[in-house]
């Protein structure tokens, strides 16, 4: 059978590469969560018919090249400044749906000020926040979200709270801000989690489009390279360790209250 025949056989196609995911090699490590989340963002933009109106803001960090993978207009921000960049894009282009895609070093360390104030102003943007507890791009240094005892290249004997402070739960913090309308914490380590994460990302994009305030979707993620684990072991380690400090679930929803 040819590739086309397999794909079209008996209408049995259940999954495909999203139309807006560009046909290029990704630089992400095998097993990294970014690839899955990129796919979900591309699917959501397509399903919501936002190809022509979405503007993405890329971070500095592993996702710096996000603009090479998803076929919409992008602005590549300086480290941590994506929420400020998105603020202006959103206010100056009211017909656009503006989203940022940021890691934990970018969003919760150098960009904490921009993150908190964009959320507090209730900017009509969607923030997709990848939390893998480490600086992946620069070689696995401690992030604000690094767990206590976790080894990184700058905490080679494990994070000590007396030296390095506590892991920062930024998502719980932004939940308290009046400007956020939707705050949720998801993961993409199982098919069920992927489906939930996609629904969350979709809700965030709808909220941004409908000018409901700031939507904040944390995806608790793995960095198997930085954690120095196999992808499978990294998923297990995340479930056993990360979810305790960063429990999955909806933290706030003023748009569709349960």
């Amino acid at each position: 059978m040819t590739k086309e025949e397999i794909i079209s056989a008996g209408g049995s196609k259940v999954a495909a590469k999203p139309r807006l995911l560009l046909d290029v090699n990704m630089h992400y490590c095998p097993g990294c969560s970014h690839g899955v989340v990129h796919k979900l963002v591309a699917e959501v933009i397509d399903e919501l018919g936002m190809e022509d109106t979405a503007i993405g803001v890329a971070p500095v960090g592993c996702a710096v090249f996000a603009y090479n993978y998803i076929d919409v207009d992008w602005v590549e921000a300086a480290h941590g400044r994506a929420p400020a960049v998105a603020t202006a894009l959103s206010r100056l282009n009211p017909d656009a749906t503006v989203f940022t895609y940021q890691g934990d070093g970018d969003l919760a360390a150098i960009g904490t000020c921009e993150t908190i104030h964009a959320c507090n102003r209730g900017e009509n943007i969607a923030i997709i926040f990848i939390n893998n507890g480490i600086y992946g791009m620069t070689g696995g240094q401690m992030a604000p979200t690094t767990l206590e005892g976790m080894k990184t290249s700058t905490t080679p004997y494990g994070r000590r709270v007396d030296l390095n402070g506590y892991p920062l739960n930024i998502t719980s913090l932004v939940k308290e801000l009046d400007g956020t309308c939707y705050v949720t914490r998801q993961a993409v380590h199982t098919p069920a989690a992927v489906r939930k994460a996609k629904a969350a990302i979709k809700q965030a994009f709808i909220n941004a489009r409908d000018k409901k305030g700031t939507s904040f979707v944390e995806i608790v993620s793995t960095c198997n390279s930085g954690w120095k684990m196999s992808p499978e072991k990294a998923n297990k380690w995340m479930e056993e360790n990360m979810f305790e400090k960063y429990p999955l679930g909806e933290l706030k929803n003023t748009v569709n209250p349960k």
Partner: protein, 363 residues
């Protein structure tokens, strides 16, 4: 406010910036309070242009956020600006470097106060180096305009944006605290409407404002890991700067025709020097003035030409000697070049300048 017609007003320099921005059809202003320029943001908030022209005005959480808002807005082809004063402009340097690297149009206003550090809120011209030599990281230049009157504060908003869009490079109005705070008569131009989306798309086909049916996506980025491609980007920037140097040098000469001595000064110092020249000529000393209007590109050729027939040059600045280096480079030793400067927020009187001319140059 009668925005549709020309209007004569008595305004502070900072207020003139705000009025001129609205009338030019600026799309967005992002600022943060700092003395002595807070009137720009205050005036804009009081005039509420979002209700007339649709201009966005936002008080950001920091100068860093404000300049990154400018970067975002500029990336989508909008006419956007920020203003601040020296310590705040230091904070903006990261974003300014990105805007220059991204080949984006934007206007940055620096109403200088004395430094270094937190310094003083009194006037200064000590950010000359920062403005004309780059300021942030990497090889780039800003188009730097130095107003010497409230009228020029208003006029340079339009000029700054025109040049910035023409060359796709950020422009800076480098004013001093005197020009920002003093009140003068100013003629405001009739208001232009903001550009429509279609006009922005035509003027800025590179803008990341949503694809809107475009086949190719637009990406505003300053990252390029391939050294060959990155050098090409740098060469393209340098080619733009050479064009700006060829076409956009602006300066003003005052009583240079028969002058034997030359003063070189910008901003408020040039106003003081005019009075010095009046006093000197009453005493039979033939002095003229060259006032750079663009600090970058610098009027090197004009200064070199004048240096041929001068007995000496005195560069007068509210700093410890910054522009004097560029004057010396232009003069190439053809005539002595000396510096007179006050710092700490002290503004000298014309007699001090004349005394310095006698002591340092005439001898």
């Amino acid at each position: 406010m009668k925005q549709h017609e020309e209007e004569v007003k008595l305004l502070k320099g900072n207020e003139a910036i705000a009025h001129a921005a609205i009338r030019y059809g600026v799309d967005g202003y992002f600022g943060y309070p700092i003395t002595p320029q807070s009137e720009v943001l205050e005036t804009l908030e009081a005039l509420m242009p979002w209700e007339t022209t649709g201009m966005v005005v936002l008080q950001a959480e920091s100068e860093v956020a404000a300049i990154n808002m400018v970067y975002g807005g500029a990336s989508s082809g909008k006419a956007v600006m920020t203003s601040s004063s020296s310590p705040g402009v230091s904070l903006k340097q990261e974003g300014i470097s990105y805007i220059a690297a991204g080949e984006l149009p934007a206007l940055i206003v620096n109403v200088m106060r004395g430094g270094p550090g937190l310094g003083t809120i009194q006037p200064s011209q000590a950010d000359y180096f920062q403005a004309v030599k780059g300021g942030g990281h990497g090889d780039y230049h800003l188009i730097v305009l130095a107003p010497a009157s409230v009228q020029e504060m208003a006029d340079f908003v339009g000029l700054g944006f025109d040049l910035s869009f023409k060359y796709r490079t950020p422009a800076m109005i480098l004013a001093d605290g005197v020009i920002g705070q003093m009140m003068e008569k100013v003629v405001l131009p009739p208001a232009k409407p903001r550009r429509t989306d279609a006009e922005i798309e035509a003027q800025c086909p590179w803008a990341a404002r949503g694809k809107h049916g475009r086949k190719q996506r637009n990406v505003s980025t300053t990252l390029e890991l391939d050294p060959q491609a990155m050098e090409k980007n740098n060469i393209r920037l340098q080619e733009t700067y050479r064009k700006i140097e060829q076409n956009e040098v602006r300066f003003e000469e005052y009583m240079t025709d028969d002058a034997e001595y030359l003063l070189v000064a910008f901003g408020c110092m040039s106003r003081i020097c005019r009075k010095t020249i009046e006093d000197a000529r009453a005493q039979g000393i033939k002095v003229g003035l060259l006032r750079p209007i663009t600090l970058w590109p610098f009027p090197s050729e004009a200064i070199s030409r004048l240096a041929e027939r001068m007995k000496g040059i005195l560069v007068c600045e509210l700093n410890a000697g910054q522009m004097v280096e560029d004057v010396r480079l232009a003069v190439e030793g053809k005539t002595p070049v000396r510096h007179f400067g006050r710092t700490g927020g002290i503004v000298p009187n014309p007699t001090e300048v004349l005394d310095a001319l006698r002591k340092e140059v005439i001898k």
